[in-house]
């Protein structure tokens, strides 16, 4: 356990997450390759099976549920490669995780200036 209090809305990708999310992250890492992205798009279920995703991870992929995928051990950098397949950019992903529209999320960012 961490000696520090948790940071709200934040999951540190530590050893516990890295162990839990290994299969999911390994699948997402494979999306660096165009051939692997195509193979995933052709048959998502078969591709997830090939990498041994557990049910929580598979459900997160099926539901495009970013927060669920983080809970299932997903790491932001590898998950971003999955987002790339879906054609989503970082503002889309931000909006999905915060329950905002993309315009609201962009306005939130701009308001920090």
């Amino acid at each position: 356990m961490s000696e520090y209090p948790p940071i709200p809305g934040t999951t540190l990708f530590d050893g516990s997450q890295a162990r839990k999310g290994y299969a999911l992250n390994k699948m997402c890492f494979s999306f660096n390759s165009a051939a692997c992205r195509e193979e995933f798009v052709r048959d998502e279920e078969a591709y997830m099976h090939k990498y041994g995703l557990n049910e929580e991870q598979a459900a997160g992929i099926r539901g495009r549920d970013v927060l669920g995928l983080i809970r299932a051990g997903g790491n932001a950098y590898y998950l971003a490669k999955f987002a790339g397949i879906l054609g989503l950019n970082m503002q889309d992903i931000g909006a999905l995780q915060t329950g905002m529209t993309v315009d609201e999320f962009k306005a939130k960012l701009k308001a920090y200036a």
């Binding site: 970013v66 790339g84 503002q91």
Partner: protein, 278 residues
């Protein structure tokens, strides 16, 4: 002996690569970011460094969780960029400087930084985009040596440790038996968080204080634990470790050539600094 001419730090957001490919530098969204590089390029034209040492963090191109070195040093004659999976263009390879690589490796291990050495190393946007911003020509006109710090998997090396790592890199460069002029580059940050319910978090006050500390009090941020840095700057804002290490490599009083800070570029508070050795 080799001479360090100064240090450069910049954010390295992937979307910058897309903007360059689409020639959007003068677009209203991008102009405040790209215009920051004009005075820095002018300074580089004057000091003409021969080689760059680039401190950056890999985002899952070269390293996966199967093997995750805390500190790694490139020792390749050439560094290739590749498909990162999120649709940004692949940039031309960058030449390495293998003599400098092995000098760094030998000296760092001598100083008890037991780094991982990489004779093959793919370099991602955190290495290629900053070089492209500082030297828009393709390929990059000067060779570069990549030095990677893990910010993917916790535990990360502490700010204090990264600062000491930077000091050792600076000492190693200055002891290199070469007449070459070296520029040290640190890429990443500033405050941003991509993941979780706190996605979109930015901390302007902290960023500005940190940028000020780079000039006047370079070890300031070493007082914070990694946990505190994540809390203050976001899960990816912790990439300021690269800035700290780059600054530590070029100690003492530096002359500010230029700095720029702009919110937002993608989800990031973007920062740029060029400091010259005096």
């Amino acid at each position: 002996m080799a001479k360090i001419v100064g240090m450069l730090t910049t954010s390295h957001v992937p979307a910058i690569g897309g903007a360059i490919a689409k020639n959007l530098q003068q677009d209203a969204y991008w102009k405040p970011f790209f215009d920051g590089f004009i005075p820095v390029r002018k300074w580089l034209d004057e000091v003409k460094p021969d080689v760059a040492v680039v401190l950056y963090n890999d985002h899952g191109l070269n390293f996966f969780l199967d093997k995750m070195p805390t500190f790694s040093v490139g020792a390749a004659p050439e560094y290739h960029n590749a498909d990162e999976g999120w649709g940004i263009p692949t940039l031309a390879p960058t030449r390495g400087d293998v003599d400098l690589s092995w000098h760094l490796i030998n000296k760092l291990i001598d100083r008890e930084f037991d780094i991982t050495t990489c004779q093959e190393m793919l370099v991602d946007h955190a290495f290629t985009i900053p070089l492209k911003l500082f030297w828009p020509q393709s390929p990059c006109p000067i060779p570069a040596v990549p030095v990677c710090i893990n910010t993917v998997q916790f535990p990360l090396p502490s700010a204090k440790r990264c600062y000491a790592f930077g000091q050792a890199i600076g000492d190693a460069i200055r002891s290199w038996d070469s007449e070459k002029k070296v520029v040290v580059i640190g890429t990443g940050g500033l405050s941003h968080q991509l993941d979780g319910e706190r996605a979109g978090f930015i901390n302007k006050d902290f960023d500005l204080k940190f940028m000020d500390s780079m000039i006047n009090d370079p070890a300031w941020a070493t007082q914070f634990s990694i946990h505190e840095l994540v809390e203050k700057t976001g899960t990816q804002g912790v990439e300021l470790l690269m800035w700290l290490a780059a600054r530590a490599a070029v100690p003492g009083t530096l002359q500010k050539i230029h700095s720029n800070y702009h919110i937002p570029i993608s989800n990031t508070a973007s920062g740029l600094m060029a400091l010259a050795a005096v």
